[in-house]
Symmetry: C2
Subunit: 591 residues, 2 copies
Amino acid sequence: MLRTHTCGELRLSDINKQVTLSGWVQKSRDLGGMTFIDLRDRYGITQLAFNEDVDKEMNAQARSVSREFVIQVSGTVIERESKNKNNPTGEIEILVKEFKILNESVTPPFTIEDNTDGGDELRMKYRYLDLRRNEVRKNLELRHRMAIETRNYLDKLNFLEVETPVLIKSTPEGARDFVVPSRMNAGQFYALPQSPQTFKQLLMVGGFDRYYQIVKCFRDEDLRADRQPEFTQIDCEMSFVEQKDILDTFEGLVRHLFKAVKNIDMPFVPHMTYADAMKYYGNDKPDTRFEMKFVEMNQVVAGKNFKVFDEAELVVAICAKGAAEYTRKQLDELTEWVKRPQIGATGLVYARHNADGTIKSSVDKFYNEEDLKAWSVACGSQPGDLILVLAGSDEKTRKAMSELRLEMGARLGLRDKSKFSALWVIDFPLLEWNDGDPNLLASLAGRWHAKHHPFTSPNPEDFELLKTNPGAVRANAYDLVINGVEVGGGSIRIHNKELQAQMFDLLGFTKEEAQKQFGFLMNAFEFGAPPHGGLAFGFDRLCSLFGGSDSIRDFIAFPKNNSGRDVMIDSPSEISDEQLKELNILSTVTN
Amino acid sequence: MLRTHTCGELRLSDINKQVTLSGWVQKSRDLGGMTFIDLRDRYGITQLAFNEDVDKEMNAQARSVSREFVIQVSGTVIERESKNKNNPTGEIEILVKEFKILNESVTPPFTIEDNTDGGDELRMKYRYLDLRRNEVRKNLELRHRMAIETRNYLDKLNFLEVETPVLIKSTPEGARDFVVPSRMNAGQFYALPQSPQTFKQLLMVGGFDRYYQIVKCFRDEDLRADRQPEFTQIDCEMSFVEQKDILDTFEGLVRHLFKAVKNIDMPFVPHMTYADAMKYYGNDKPDTRFEMKFVEMNQVVAGKNFKVFDEAELVVAICAKGAAEYTRKQLDELTEWVKRPQIGATGLVYARHNADGTIKSSVDKFYNEEDLKAWSVACGSQPGDLILVLAGSDEKTRKAMSELRLEMGARLGLRDKSKFSALWVIDFPLLEWNDGDPNLLASLAGRWHAKHHPFTSPNPEDFELLKTNPGAVRANAYDLVINGVEVGGGSIRIHNKELQAQMFDLLGFTKEEAQKQFGFLMNAFEFGAPPHGGLAFGFDRLCSLFGGSDSIRDFIAFPKNNSGRDVMIDSPSEISDEQLKELNILSTVTN
């Protein structure tokens, strides 16, 4: 080893030890006869001291090194005169006796500091330098810890980690596949998995009982800030279970992770139906760090000749605690905010429940003090609170109010990234009507789509509705939501061949298409498929949530940009005509 | 849960417990008034008893189920009259009180038994049924255990598991890449990684210090029995290390795996130079479970007018202990064996060291008793041993003798799959001349190739030879060999930009090509790259070795066949014209 210790481990108890350290020059200070270098590695920073009186030449050498040089030093651990209590090694320093430059460095394009001067693009291009920054490294250390704790938890519960294939088969269901031309099977293509869904179900048919995998998945979607073409799932499946067993098992995983990784005792995770989530939060992934539940006001506000409310399909309010002192200017700004196209409300009505108990609204022309008291009762407002009301069509208004609720939560400081609130959302609709979506192939638009995926079991109580009112059928499906982020989801699967065939039929597959795409799974169901179910967590997102970040990119070592490019290695790139020819394909792009 | 216990856990101590089990019908026996079913799950087999006197209807139901039906039963644990000591649950049975068929099964195409009647093709097509067989499941349980023990060992040593990207950049070095057309970057392609080599080196430049990953890699090669287009590596890299540190660290891993997984105390692993491996075994991955080392006989056999020996570049012998009683017929057969084109020897000379001390050879015309005594001394033969001699050109003869040695080892029962012998082979040549190889792109044939890969550091002692005699330069590289199988290999890497550029130059890259393909890595070396090195284990192969099998396929849940096809899901397959169009490619195959 080119070191006896790391730069993070020496303490006062090591005084007088002869040690060798290697690392990067974080900074150096030249104090005339003395030179000090902060030497950095993954584990910390240790101060090196060079004394001109002891070794003039070495001191000159030390003065010559720049930031990010890689050096190796040997010397004695001594007590520091001016101690640095913020650094675990801050009570000691190394009096250097031997010194060697292991590699030089040109000046980095941005500073390797917690607060760097590098912009996003530059840091992506030099990702290997950005990785040297504490913050980025800590994110990936967190990710490592999350992965190993996940594995150990599941291993203890008899889950087997099984690797499923990456070169699989393209299916038109869901998002676009990335495909891989097969040289050995001319004219044919593999696809990269969007998830190992069918394989994990086949493992259950194969009697594996409990499966998991932390696995890369791929979707050729148009990218947003929090999406990557390749992403990682904690993918799990269990046999001989009902919904409750899965929720309990994976609630246990999440509680274990919070305890092991963040030393947080997570309370038990409540269950909420999809219907209630939409009713009280207008959102199937509500942020429950704060209340501010929806109050449906149609009855309360009716009959006062305020057309906007009287004619609205939905009038819905939230009570923002302690926000009564919002100024007119703030409220005007908030009104403009809800009217932005992304939110889509036509206006905002408010009522201030003042500290003196009076209530004043923006619609006092229609509602007198008495009426507003009724509002207050309905919303549970207290003096000092602000009631905010939106009206319009049900779906659109709920969506807008959900955004407003989240915005008010943020403005009132109720969305603290160090606080965590989890819930299971259950009883999702099995199907949704889809008129077409740019992320779906055109041939699949305008029909029922599986909200989760086509292998999700309907709630047994709703079997009859499958034929009469498919849109009303509840799925035996569930999402885990933490702080308004869907971190995982899954379902009890169909394990019966006839029901699976009925499902494909409902989704518009012909018998031939279903057989061609998923025949292997339906055939497998003929040979004694056990009842089974599972779920998958978005691992990148779970890590970013634990790390208190909104961006999954910060938790991926080598992420791609919004065009799906790795700007560091400059990929994707052109390939040779020889390669194309071997693969039996032509590019239609002329370069 | 659809069970209170698994089928593997009930014992005499559970007598009188009311339990519920779920699983598959392994077999049933109808003894008139009693029916017995063996119920199977991943954890074991439990006997169920149905008594016609207790419940006639249920007994009839039980008689109606066939093999592989999935059933759920509730009942009482009772002591069995005729105990089965070979089954951990063999002292009890369940007196069934409730009975439910969870799913039916048609007759499987082969029996789900340790000795199945299904052929390879059929079992690949119905892999999900093959997975139900004990043997296949145990292989994958072993793999799971290997993975988790690997991770825990490396975690304790501060290795961070970091996921590197799967969608990377095609480079012409090495085997063929699988490529992925980019929809968003028309005319451009990602490649799937043959290994995360450059990324793990960038992690070292990024200060990650210790990295590992159990990771899928991809090579579009023509397949053999022990190769798969996608395979898994334990991939590792460390900074501030020398060769010895890496060998010690990963010898530790292997010893840990042997202890934790197989309860074998592995002795410390010896080091052998590549030169010695070739000299004594004719093979850079010698099987050291047995000695039978090569003895170079040119001096010993010279000058007796036996032209074959006198004119041979190499005369080499092995001493097969205890094989003197081989019959003339056996020896003739062995002679035919070495003359097969795969072995390529022109003939075989032998000398029997008989039990009475006399020595008789197949070349007694040229060598008298005295001469043969000298052979015996050189080979260290004892009465009862057989000396086998090959002669010819050095390289070809060593190769043939290596095969003969392995064959004799097998015939003499010296290659016991439950015994393990490991060694590090070190000091490989850095470069090898390659005249062209069907697995390499034509443009790369006929030049120096990196024996390991172009990032391998030369042995510092041989730096000067790089210019004068590249073929003689030793690499700072090492392979771990167990039982004649190369299970892992790696090297100390180049961390200096100039040396890396010199290396690319030697390998025939123009400056422009090197910059285009690996510019990101050479640029990274400008910013303070630490000395670093690492290695990768072939995880599939390591598992098969631990499992005592020659085939990695047995240790992969869903392997592909020799045409790279998954015959279960029927992949690869054609994709739609719409998909091709979106990806800006055309297939040159007319369907």
